[in-house]
Amino acid sequence: MHAVIATSALPLFLGALLSDWAYSRSFQPQWINFSSWLIAGALVLTGVAMLWALVELLRRRGSLISLLLLLATFVLGFVNALVHARDGAATMPTGLVLSAMVLVLAAVAVGVGLTAWCRRAAA
C-alpha cells in the first residue's frame, strides 16, 4: 500500500525536475518557486509513504529494502529542498542534479514497492 502513496509523489518530483530545467534555461524565478513547492509536496507524500512502510514492516508484512529506499529518497529530497531555499541562481546547478537523482531514487523505490505489492496480491 505504501507504494501507491509513493507513486503519487513521482509526478511532483518529475515536475520539480522539469521546472528546474526551465529555470536553468531562463533564470525566470517563478520556475524555481514552482520547484520549491513541488519538492515540498513530494516530501510530504514520501514521508507518509515512509511511515506506512514502517508500519507494514512492524506488522511483518513489508520489506526493509522498500523502507530504506523511501528513506533515501526523503533524505536526498530534503537536501534538495534546502538547496532550493538558496536565493536566485545559487540553486543551480546543484538543484537540477539533485532533482534528477531524487526522481530516479523515488522511481526505484516505487518500482520495488509495487512489485512486492503485486506479488503479494497474486499470492
Binding site: P29, I32, S36, L67, A85, D87, G88, A89
Partner: protein, 432 residues
C-alpha cells in the same frame, strides 16, 4: 524491529549532520576603506542567530565614561527614526511596513523565525511628539502629532514643513512652532515605489536650502530572487524636488540605504547601506558612504567594487565594471539603520564624525551590531576605527533592545530609537 530503530537513529544523525552549517570565524570587526573580503560561502542552511528578546529589568545600555543615558519615552509602537524640531521637541516615527508576498516555503519559514527577534507590538503608523518644556532632561509632554500614516520612517524638516517618508509616499505637514498636533491631513509630495516592499523603509533627508529631498529606497529582494521586473526604481537614492515633487535617481545599486544625512562641513550627502545576505558571516560588509551623484554601487551584480555575485543571472559585465567602492565598511550583517553627524561642542572624541545605529545581525552565528557606534571623521572623511557609543543591548544571551534611528539634538545630546524595547533613549554628556 531493530533494523527499523537503527535506521531511525541513522536518519536523525544524518539530518543533524546536514544541519551543521559552515563554521564561523570570530568576528574580525571589519571596518574602513579596504575590508577583507573572504570567499563567498553558504552551507545547506544559512548561518543564523536570532535575537531572543528580554526586558531591561532596571538595566540600562552602556555609554562611554562621562556620558549618561536615559529613557525619555517608553511603550511606543515600534519607534524607528526621530527628528528634533527647531524648538527642541522630538518627533518619533512609529510603524512597521512590508507585507511582501510569500513566494516559497522558505519565505514562510524564515518569516516565522525572524519575527522571534522583533517586538510583538503592532506598529503605530503614527508620529509621536515628545517635549521637555522646562529643559530638565525629562520629556514630560507627549502627544500623537499625526496618525493613520502608512509605515512612516524617514523624517526631515525644512522651511516650516515636516516631511515624512511613508512606505508608499513622501508627504509633508505644515508646521507652526510649538504645535503638538498636525492641523490638517498631510499633502503628498511624491509617490514612492511601493510594490512588494520587501525592504519597505524609506529613508529621508533634506539639503540645507530645503530645495531637494533625498529618499533611500531599498531593493525588493536579497539578490534578485523575486525577478528584476520588481526592482525597477529600487535599490537607489531618489532626489525629489521639494516644490514640484519631480523625482530622479541620484545614485543606484545601493541594496538597502536605510538612513541618509548631510555631513555638515562639506555639505556632502552620506548614507548607510545594508548589503546582501547568505554569502557567509563576513560577507558582504555593510557600509557608510558618501553618495556620489550618478554612481552605481553594485547591487545586484557586484559588491564592494567589481566582485561578481553569481547568484544574479544573467549577469551584467558592464554593471560589474561600473561598480564603485563605498567609502567605509561596517561589519557584515551588523545592519546599520541610523545615521547622524556630530557637531562641534560634543566632547572628544565625538566632536567630528558619524553616529551609526546598528540594529544587529541574524545571518551570522556570532551576533554583531546591536549597538550605536561612532565613526571618527576628519576633513569630511572617515578617519580611524569605529568606537562604541551606546552598547549593552545584549546580555546573558538575551537581547533587550535594538537601535534604529540616531539623531543629534542641538543641545548636545544623542537621541536613539530602539524598536525592540519600544523606547527612545537620550544620551547626554554628564555635565548636562
Amino acid at each position: 524491529m531493530n533494523a527499523a530503530l537503527i535506521t531511525g537513529s541513522a536518519v536523525v544523525a544524518l539530518i543533524t549532520a546536514l544541519g551543521v552549517v559552515a563554521q564561523t570565524t570570530p568576528g574580525p570587526g571589519q571596518h574602513g576603506g579596504n575590508p577583507e573580503l573572504p570567499a563567498p560561502q553558504r552551507g545547506l542552511l544559512p548561518d543564523m542567530a536570532i535575537a531572543e528578546p528580554a526586558g531591561w529589568d532596571g538595566r540600562l545600555p552602556t555609554v562611554p565614561t562621562g556620558w549618561t543615558i536615559k529613557a525619555i519615552a517608553t511603550d511606543l509602537k515600534i519607534p524607528r527614526q526621530t527628528l528634533v524640531l527647531p524648538n527642541g521637541d522630538i518627533l518619533v516615527a512609529e510603524g512597521r511596513g512590508g507585507g511582501a508576498p510569500k513566494l516559497t516555503p522558505k519565505d514562510f519559514i524564515a518569516g516565522v523565525i525572524k519575527a522571534r527577534g522583533n517586538t510583538a507590538v503592532k506598529g503605530g503608523n503614527r508620529l509621536t511628539l515628545l517635549r521637555d518644556a522646562d529643559g530638565d532632561g525629562a520629556y514630560e509632554g507627549r502627544w500623537v502629532y499625526a496618525e493613520n500614516l502608512d509605515a512612516p520612517y524617514g523624517l526631515a524638516f525644512a522651511g516650516g514643513k515636516i516631511y515624512v517618508a511613508n512606505q508608499n509616499a513622501l508627504v509633508r505637514f505644515d508646521y507652526t512652532d510649538g504645535q503638538t498636533q498636525a492641523a490638517a491631513a498631510p499633502t503628498t509630495v511624491a509617490l514612492l515605489p511601493s510594490a512588494v516592499n520587501h525592504h519597505w523603509t524609506k529613508a529621508l533627508t533634506v539639503d540645507a536650502e530645503g530645495r531637494f529631498l533625498y529618499v533611500g529606497i531599498g531593493s525588493n529582494s536579497n539578490i534578485g530572487e523575486r525577478g528584476m521586473a520588481v526592482e525597477e526604481n529600487r535599490a537607489l537614492v531618489w532626489q525629489v524636488d521639494a516644490t514640484t515633487g519631480a523625482v530622479r535617481p541620484f545614485a543606484t545599486g545601493l541594496r538597502n540605504p536605510t538612513a541618509l544625512a548631510f555631513e555638515p562641513g562639506t555639505r556632502q550627502l552620506w548614507t548607510v547601506v545594508n548589503e546582501r545576505d547568505e554569502l557567509g558571516p563576513d560577507l558582504v560588509p555593510d557600509y557608510l558612504t558618501s553618495v556620489r551623484e550618478g554612481a552605481f554601487y553594485g547591487w545586484p551584480y557586484a559588491y564592494w567594487g567589481p566582485n561578481v555575485d553569481p547568484r544574479i543571472q544573467p549577469g551584467d559585465d558592464e554593471k560589474v565594471q561600473a561598480t564603485v567602492k563605498p567609502d567605509y565598511a561596517l561589519q557584515s550583517h551588523s545592519a546599520p539603520l541610523g545615521l547622524a553627524f556630530s557637531q562641534a561642542g560634543l566632547p572628544a572624541p565625538f566632536a567630528e564624525g558619524a553616529f551609526v545605529g546598528l540594529h544587529g545581525s541574524w545571518n551570522r552565528q556570532e551576533p554583531v551590531g546591536y549597538k550605536v557606534i561612532f565613526v571618527p571623521f576628519s576633513g569630511g572623511k572617515p578617519n580611524g576605527a569605529p568606537v562604541d557609543f551606546v552598547a549593552g543591548f545584549q546580555a546573558d544571551g538575551k537581547t533587550m533592545g535594538r537601535p534604529v534611528g540616531v539623531t543629534l539634538d542641538p543641545k548636545g545630546a544623542v537621541i536613539v530609537a530602539d524598536d525592540l524595547s519600544n523606547t527612545v533613549w537620550r544620551v547626554t554628556p554628564s555635565a548636562q
